[in-house]
C-alpha cells in the first residue's frame, strides 16, 4: 500500500518491472523492496538454507543494506539487495539466483579493470554521511581540509535524518528532523565537501588504504586521516519465526514509510524497546495503516521513573513533547500498547500470519501462560541499535563490550574521537550508540581535531559549543534509557529450533549442542557450524552468539563480536579488483607468533601419559587416533583448541600432483624434496577414506580429479615435464588438449590450450574431517588438554617433563605435531627443526551454481580453486598474506587479493558474476617441500611429525609416526623425510 503524504509527490509517473513473471508497478527511483511492499509482496527471496517459511522464503529484514537477506537477481546480475537497488523501469527481477547455464548465465557484476585501481588522495576521508559523518566533514572542511565523504545511500542524511527517496520530491513543509538533515547536508556540500553517494566501502587495509565500490568500480581512497561514521544497525532478537517474510526491523519499516511513502504491511505489530517503535507506530497510524499493537518490553513508566522523566524533559523538551504526542496519537486510534511484554513467536507458512506476545517477568522470562495471539502480516522488531564497528575492527581499533542489554560494542576513543589506531577517528552511533544529537557533536569535535592534526588552523568556538551539546545529549540519552529500561535480556527461553544465524540457517539447537559438547571457543564454533561465515559478516549472529556462549558456559562474554575480523566488510564483485600481479614473491615468513586465543582454564596439579602429542591440528589428531587405536596411552596437549590454525584455515584440497611452487625453477630446494612426497599423496587419500568410514562421518571427500591448466605452449611444456616426473613416482597423470579439457570442465575459459589431469585428486572439508578424527581419537581413549601452552620440555632419562601454562605433564614419549610452530617446540629440547610459518591467503565467493567439479590449478602460476559442497568457490594458491603484530592476526593484503582474483577469473570467467564474501589468512607450514618425520637424532623418545604444503598428507605422516613409535620402523622408505637431511 502506498501512503499519501500531502508534503511529497512522486517525481515521475509509474513504470513497470517483472518479478518472478508478475508485472509490478513502481515509481522510478524507489527500491525494488519498496515497490514490492507497495504491491503487497513480502516474500522476496528463496533462500538456499531454509528458514521459518515453506520453501525458505525470506523478505525485507534490515532494510538498510546490512543483512543481505533480500537478495534478488536483477537482469541476470546475482545477489543484488532489493532494499538498495533502485527501479528505473523494465527490469527483470527474480527471487532465485541464476543457474549458471547458457540460458540463464551469471552476468558480469562489474567491468574488469586492466590497470591498477583508481586512487583518490585527500586530507580527510569520512565514511558515512549521517549526522556524525556530515558534522565531522563540515568541521574539517571549515578548517580548510580537503574532505571526501563516502556514503552507501542515494542521498546524505543517514538513518536518522532519513531523506525522502529519489522517487519523491518534497513540495511542502516537512518536520524538524527532515529540516535539520537538509540544512546539515547543504552546509556540508556548500562548504566544499565532496559527498560520494552510492559508495559501498568494502574494506580498509590500512587507515590510508580504504576500498570502496562506486558505480561498479573499486576505488582506493588514500586519506591522511580517516573518520569512521558508519552508524548503527538494529540488534537481532531471535524468536521462532523471525525469518518469515513480513518480520522486519523497525528501521526497515520506518524507511519504507518515511522515505518511500510505502506501508510496510496491511496489519502491523510494532515490538521491542525504546521510543523509535512508538514513533513508527504513530507515523503509520496517522497515515491510515492498521497497527494491531505496540509491544514494549519496558514496564509502563511510573512514578518510579519521575527523576529521569524530569531530567529528559528539562534537557530536551521538544523530543519529550514528540514522545508524548506519539502516545496520544496511538490512544486516539485505539492502538493497544502492551507495556512489559515481548514478542515470543511469529507464525506463518509462506509469510507472517500471526504474532504471539507474553508479559515478561523481572528476570526477563516470558510468562507463557499469559500469551496473547494477534493476527498480523507485518512485525517490526526494534530492540535497540548496535554500532557498526566492522571497519574499525578490520583496522585493528580496540573495541570494548558495553554490557548494556545483550552487550553492545563500543570503540575505545579519546574525548576527541581518536581510536587506538593512529590516524583513525570514530564518531557517532558507529562508535557508540547514543543518538543523533550526540553524534553531531561528536563529529564536529573529531572533525576539528583531525584537521588540526594536519596543521589546519581551526576556530575553536564551534568546538566548545559541540562539547556542551555533547554533554547535554549524553545526559538526555541516559535519562531515556532509564525511562525505557527493559528487564534483563536472556536467551534461555529461545527454543532450540529458532534460527540464530540467518545467513547460514543455523538454529540455536545446533549451536547449543556444540557448546555443550565442549566446543566453547568462538573460532571452533565458527569452523564447526559455519556460524558467522555468512554474507552479513556476523553482524546479526555475532552479538547473539557471544551472549549465548556466555549464558551456556557461565563465563563472561567474549566481547562485542566473538569472531576475528575478515575482509571484506561487505561483499564486493570479484572482478572489480581482479588485476594481474607479479607472482612468485616467495613465502613471506612471519616468524612464529603465538596466535592462540586460549579460553581461561583451571590449572592442574600434574598429568602423565606414555605418549604426549603437542599440537591439536590435523596431524596431531590423526597421530592421536592411530596411537590410541593401537592401545597406547595418549594425551593430546593444545595451547588453544582443535583445528584453529593451519589445519582449520586450510582450503581443503587433496593434492596429488605437484603444485606450481613445487616444480620447476621456483620450487623450494630445487623441487627434489617435494617430488619425494609424490608417493605419499595417493596413499594419504586412501587413509582419509579409511578415517571417514571409521569415524562414520561424511568428510565431504570428493575425488573428482585435479586439473592444472595451461594457456600457452610454455605452460604445456611445463606440464609435460612435470607429468613425466610424477609418472615416474607412480602417479596417474594425463595431458589433455583443449578439446578434452573443455569436455571435462566446460566452464573453464576457452582460451586455455590444455591441462594436466590427475584423476586421484580431489577435495575434503577440513572443518569436518579434523574434528571427526579427533572425536575418533577420543573414543579410542585419547585424553585431551586444551588451553595449555607448552613452555619447556626436559628429558628425564626415562622420559620427559613438560611444563605447560596449566601445569606439569610427565611423558614417556613426546610427539611434536605443532605445525608452523614445530621449530619452537624443537628449540625446547635443543634441536633445530627447520619449519617456518608463512601466512597465506584464501578467498571464498558467494554460493554459486555448480561450475567446476575438479580441483583446478594453473601451470606455473599461483592458483588453486575448487567449489565447495555449499556452492562457494574457494580461491587460493599460496598468495602471500601478512602477519599484523599489533593485532596478533594474519591479515590479507590487497595486492594478493587482486592477483589471486585475476588468476581465478582468467581460468573461470564466470567468477565475473560472483561476489567475494570473505578473504582470510592462515599460517602455512613452510619446510623445504617435504615433511619432517621420525625420532630426533640424539633424543630418544622425541618425535617430530610435521607435514608440508597443506592438508592432504596429514594421515600419511601420522601413520608413519605411529608406526615408528609402535614398531620402531615404517613400512616404507622415509629417509628423505628425516630431520638429518638438513645437516
Amino acid at each position: 500500500m502506498r501512503l499519501s503524504r500531502p508534503n511529497t509527490t512522486a517525481i515521475s509517473p509509474p513504470v513497470e518491472f517483472q518479478f518472478d513473471g508478475r508485472t509490478i508497478s513502481a515509481l522510478p527511483g524507489e527500491s525494488i523492496a519498496a515497490a514490492l511492499a507497495a504491491n503487497g509482496i513480502s516474500a522476496i527471496r528463496k533462500s538456499d538454507v531454509g528458514g521459518d517459511s515453506d520453501d525458505g522464503w525470506r523478505g525485507l529484514y534490515c532494510g538498510m543494506g546490512t543483512c543481505f537477506d533480500c537478495l534478488v537477481t536483477v537482469d541476470g546480475k546475482a545477489s543484488q539487495r532489493a532494499c538498495m537497488t533502485k527501479v528505473s523501469g523494465g527490469e527483470t527481477v527474480r527471487s532465485a539466483a541464476p543457474i549458471g547455464s547458457s540460458d540463464d548465465p551469471l552476468k558480469a557484476l562489474s567491468e574488469s579493470s586492466s590497470a591498477e585501481l583508481p586512487v583518490r588522495a585527500c586530507d580527510i576521508l569520512v565514511v558515512g554521511a549521517g549526522a556524525a559523518g556530515l558534522s565531522a566533514a563540515l568541521a574539517a572542511r571549515e578548517c580548510g581540509a580537503d574532505v571526501i565523504v563516502l556514503d552507501e545511500r542515494a542521498q546524505p542524511g543517514g538513518q536518522y535524518y532519513k531523506p525522502v527517496a529519489p522517487s519523491h520530491q518534497v513540495t511542502a513543509a516537512m518536520d524538524r528532523q527532515f529540516h535539520d538533515g537538509q540544512i546539515l547536508a547543504r552546509r556540508t556540500r556548500e562548504a566544499g565537501v565532496e559527498i560520494v553517494q552510492d559508495a559501498s566501502v568494502w574494506g580498509a587495509f590500512r587507515p590510508s588504504e580504504v576500498l570502496a565500490l562506486v558505480d561498479g568500480t573499486s576505488f582506493v581512497f588514500e586519506p591522511k586521516r580517516l573518520i569512521l561514521a558508519t552508524g548503527a544497525f538494529e540488534r537481532a532478537m531471535p524468536i521462532p519465526g523471525w525469518t518469515l517474510p513480513g518480520v522486519m526491523t523497525t528501521g526497515a519499516a520506518q524507511t519504507l514509510a518515511r522515505a518511500y511513502n510505502v506501508s510496510p504491511g496491511g496489519r502491523v505489530v510494532v515490538a521491542g524497546n525504546g521510543p523509535l517503535n512508538f514513533q513508527l507506530a504513530a507515523d503509520l497510524v496517522s497515515n491510515g495503516v492498521e497497527v494491531a499493537a505496540v509491544v514494549e518490553s519496558a514496564p509502563r513508566p511510573s512514578l518510579a521513573k519521575i527523576r529521569p522523566l524530569i531530567s529528559a524533559l528539562a534537557l530536551s523538551p521538544r523530543l519529550m513533547r514528540d514522545g508524548i504526542g506519539y502516545l496520544n496519537q496511538l490512544r486516539r486510534a485505539s492502538v493497544p500498547v502492551f507495556w512489559g511484554h515481548s514478542v515470543t513467536a511469529a507464525f506463518g507458512t509462506k509469510a507472517l500470519e500471526k504474532v504471539q506476545l507474553s508479559p515478561v517477568d523481572k528476570s526477563g522470562a516470558p510468562k507463557a501462560h499469559n500469551a496473547t495471539s494477534l493476527d498480523a502480516d507485518t512485525l517490526c522488531l526494534g530492540y535497540g541499535l548496535i554500532a557498526s564497528t566492522e571497519l574499525a575492527l578490520a583496522l585493528g581499533c580496540d573495541v570494548e563490550r558495553d554490557p548494556r542489554h545483550l552487550g553492545t560494542p563500543k570503540i575505545v576513543r579519546t574525548a576527541t574521537g581518536e581510536t587506538s589506531v593512529d590516524g583513525v577517528f570514530a564518531v557517532g552511533d558507529g562508535a557508540e550508540v547514543a543518538g543523533a544529537k550526540l553524534a553531531e557533536a561528536d563529529g564536529t569535535i573529531a572533525g576539528y581535531k583531525a584537521a588540526r592534526q594536519l596543521g589546519f588552523d581551526c576556530q575553536p568556538s564551534d568546538g566548545v559549543r559541540a562539547l556542551r551539546a555533547r554533554k547535554r545529549a549524553a545526559q538526555f540519552q541516559k535519562s531515556l534509557w532509564s525511562i525505557f529500561e527493559p528487564p534483563p535480556v536472556t536467551l534461555r527461553h529461545v527454543p532450540d529450533d529458532t534460527v540464530l544465524c540467518r545467513c547460514e540457517g543455523l538454529t540455536f539447537g545446533t549451536i547449543r549442542r556444540d557448546i555443550s559438547a565442549g566446543w566453547t571457543s568462538p573460532g571452533t564454533l565458527k569452523r564447526r557450524t559455519r556460524l558467522g561465515m555468512g554474507r552479513c559478516q556476523a553482524r546479526y549472529c555475532g552479538p547473539v552468539a557471544a551472549q549465548l556462549l556466555s549464558e551456556e558456559t557461565g563465563r563472561p562474554s567474549m566481547g562485542p563480536t566473538p569472531f576475528a575480523s575478515r575482509l571484506p566488510v561487505k561483499p564486493f564483485p570479484a572482478t572489480s579488483v581482479a588485476i594481474e600481479k607479479p607472482e612468485w614473491g616467495g613465502h613471506a615468513r612471519a616468524g612464529s607468533p603465538n596466535l592462540s586465543l586460549p579460553e581461561g582454564a583451571e590449572p592442574f596439579e600434574r598429568e602423565a601419559a606414555d605418549i604426549v602429542i603437542i599440537g591439536g591440528g590435523v596431524v596431531g589428531a590423526c597421530t592421536a587416533y592411530y596411537l590410541a587405536d593401537a592401545g597406547q596411552d595418549v594425551l593430546l596437549v593444545e595451547r588453544d583448541d582443535i583445528n584453529l590454525q593451519a589445519s582449520g584455515g586450510n582450503a581443503g584440497s587433496l593434492h596429488v600432483q605437484l603444485l606450481s611452487f613445487d616444480f620447476g625453477d621456483k620450487a623450494e630446494a630445487g623441487g627434489g624434496p617435494a617430488a619425494s612426497t609424490l608417493p605419499l599423496g595417493p596413499w594419504a587419500i586412501d587413509l582419509w577414506h579409511d578415517l571417514a568410514s571409521i569415524s562414520q562421518h561424511d568428510f565431504e571427500i570428493r575425488q573428482t580429479g585435479g586439473l592444472m591448466v595451461a594457456e600457452d605452449e610454455a605452460g604445456m611444456a611445463y606440464l609435460r615435464a612435470k607429468a613425466d616426473i610424477e609418472r615416474s613416482h607412480g602417479i596417474e597423470a594425463e595431458i589433455l588438449d583443449a578439446q578434452a579439457l573443455q569436455n571435462m570442465a566446460p566452464n573453464l575459459s576457452d582460451h586455455l590450450i590444455g591441462a594436466e589431469y590427475c584423476p586421484q585428486e580431489g577435495k575434503i572439508n577440513p572443518l569436518v574431517a579434523t574434528y571427526s578424527v579427533f572425536n575418533a581419537a577420543r573414543r579410542a581413549g585419547t585424553r585431551y588438554i586444551k588451553s595449555a601452552d607448552v613452555a619447556a620440555i626436559s628429558p628425564t632419562g626415562s622420559g620427559f617433563e613438560i611444563s605447560t601454562s596449566r601445569g606439569p605433564i610427565r611423558a614417556g614419549k613426546v610427539i611434536n605435531a605443532a605445525g608452523p610452530w614445530a621449530r619452537l617446540v624443537g628449540d625446547m629440547v635443543g634441536i633445530s627443526v627447520p619449519v617456518y610459518s608463512a601466512p597465506l591467503q584464501m578467498i571464498v565467493t558467494e554460493r554459486a551454481p555448480m561450475l567446476i567439479d575438479q580441483l583446478v590449478a594453473f601451470a606455473d602460476r599461483h592458483l588453486t580453486m575448487k567449489q565447495l559442497s555449499t556452492g562457494g568457490i574457494v580461491i587460493g594458491g599460496a598468495w602471500t598474506a601478512a602477519y599484523d603484530a599489533e593485532r596478533n592476526l594474519n591479515v590479507t593484503t590487497r595486492a594478493s587479493i587482486e592477483g589471486n582474483l585475476w588468476t581465478a577469473r582468467r581460468v573461470l570467467p564466470q567468477i565475473d558474476g560472483l561476489h567475494v564474501l570473505r578473504s582470510w589468512a592462515a599460517m602455512n607450514v613452510n619446510i623445504d617441500g617435504a615433511p619432517i618425520v621420525g625420532e630426533a637424532p640424539g633424543i630418544p623418545g622425541f618425535y617430530n611429525t610435521v607435514t608440508s604444503n597443506g592438508y592432504t598428507l596429514a594421515p600419511a605422516v601420522a601413520r608413519i609416526t605411529a608406526d615408528l613409535v609402535l614398531h620402531g620402523s615404517a613400512d616404507r622408505d622415509i629417509s628423505t623425510y628425516h630431520l638429518d637431511r638438513f645437516q
Binding site: R120, D146, V170, T171, M174, A191
Partner: protein
C-alpha cells in the same frame, strides 16, 4: 578585485588546473568557457573556497583564499554562487529560502531579511510566488529564486556555474535576462557557461580553458573576432553549430 596567480590543482596524478593566472576587476563580467572537463567549474570553486588548490595564490578583495587562517564561511558569504541545480530547500517556501541564510549567517532581523527578500524577488520578477514551495515552480523560476537568494547576502561578486544547463530551452532566456540586468547594474560576475550569445552580449572578458589550462584570456571582441588559438576555434565551431 579577484587575482589568481599560478594556481594548480591535482586529483592524484591528474592535473585539473595547470598554472592558472588571471584577474577580474570590480564591475567586470567574465565568461569562462571551454570543453567539459577543462577545469572551468573547478576554477570558480577554488575562488570561493569550495575546493582547495595545491599551489599558487587566489585573492578575493583582501582575502587570501588559500591561507589556513581564512574563514571560509566569511569568504563564501562575499562570493554568491549559483549552481546548475538551484539547490533550493524543497520543504521551505520561496520566502523562507531567501530569509534563512540572512538570518543564520548575517544575523539579520526577520523584518530586514524579509524586506530584502521581497525587494530581490521583485527584481527577478517572482514577488507573487513568495509563499509557494520550490516544487511548484518551473526550473527557470527556481533558478531566478536561487539568484535572488545569492544576492540577499550582498556579495562582492556573483559566480555562476553553468546556471542554465539543467533548464529546458524555453526557460534559459528568463535566467540569462536576469543575469544581464545584474551585469547592467554593475555587479562583478564570473560565469561558467556555454551560452555564447550571452557572452557576446554581456561579457567584457572571456577566459577559454582546455585541459586545466587558461588558453585565452582576452576581451570579448578579441575572442570573437581576432585570430584565436586552434583549440578555441574548434571549441567555438562545435558550440555554435550545435
Amino acid at each position: 578585485m579577484i587575482v589568481l596567480d599560478n594556481v594548480s590543482k591535482n586529483y592524484g596524478t591528474f592535473e585539473v588546473l595547470k598554472h592558472c593566472s588571471t584577474s577580474v576587476d570590480k564591475g567586470q563580467v567574465v565568461v569562462i568557457c571551454g570543453p567539459s572537463g577543462s577545469g572551468k567549474s573547478t576554477l570558480i570553486k577554488c575562488i570561493n573556497g569550495l575546493e582547495p588548490f595545491d599551489t599558487g595564490t587566489i585573492h578575493v578583495g583582501d582575502i587570501d583564499v588559500g591561507a589556513s587562517s581564512t574563514n571560509l564561511s566569511q569568504l563564501r558569504a562575499k562570493t554568491g554562487m549559483v549552481f546548475q541545480n538551484f539547490e533550493l530547500f524543497p520543504h521551505l517556501t520561496i520566502m523562507q529560502n531567501l530569509v534563512l541564510a540572512q538570518r543564520k549567517v548575517l544575523r539579520r532581523s526577520e523584518k530586514e531579511s524579509e524586506d530584502k527578500a521581497i525587494s530581490l524577488l521583485r527584481r527577478v520578477g517572482l514577488e507573487d510566488q513568495r509563499s509557494k514551495y520550490p516544487g511548484h515552480l518551473s526550473g527557470g523560476q527556481q533558478q531566478r529564486v536561487a539568484i535572488a537568494r545569492a544576492l540577499a547576502m550582498d556579495p562582492l561578486v556573483m559566480m555562476f556555474d553553468e546556471p542554465t544547463s539543467a533548464l529546458d530551452p524555453e526557460m534559459i532566456n528568463e535566467v540569462l535576462d536576469v543575469m544581464g540586468e545584474l551585469a547592467a547594474d554593475g555587479m562583478t560576475m564570473l560565469c561558467v557557461t556555454h551560452e555564447m550569445g550571452f557572452a557576446r552580449r554581456v561579457a567584457q572578458k572571456i577566459i577559454f580553458m582546455d585541459r586545466g589550462e587558461i588558453i585565452e584570456d582576452c576581451t570579448k571582441d578579441e575572442f570573437f573576432q581576432a585570430d584565436r588559438s586552434e583549440r578555441a576555434r574548434q571549441f567555438l565551431a562545435k558550440i555554435l553549430h550545435h
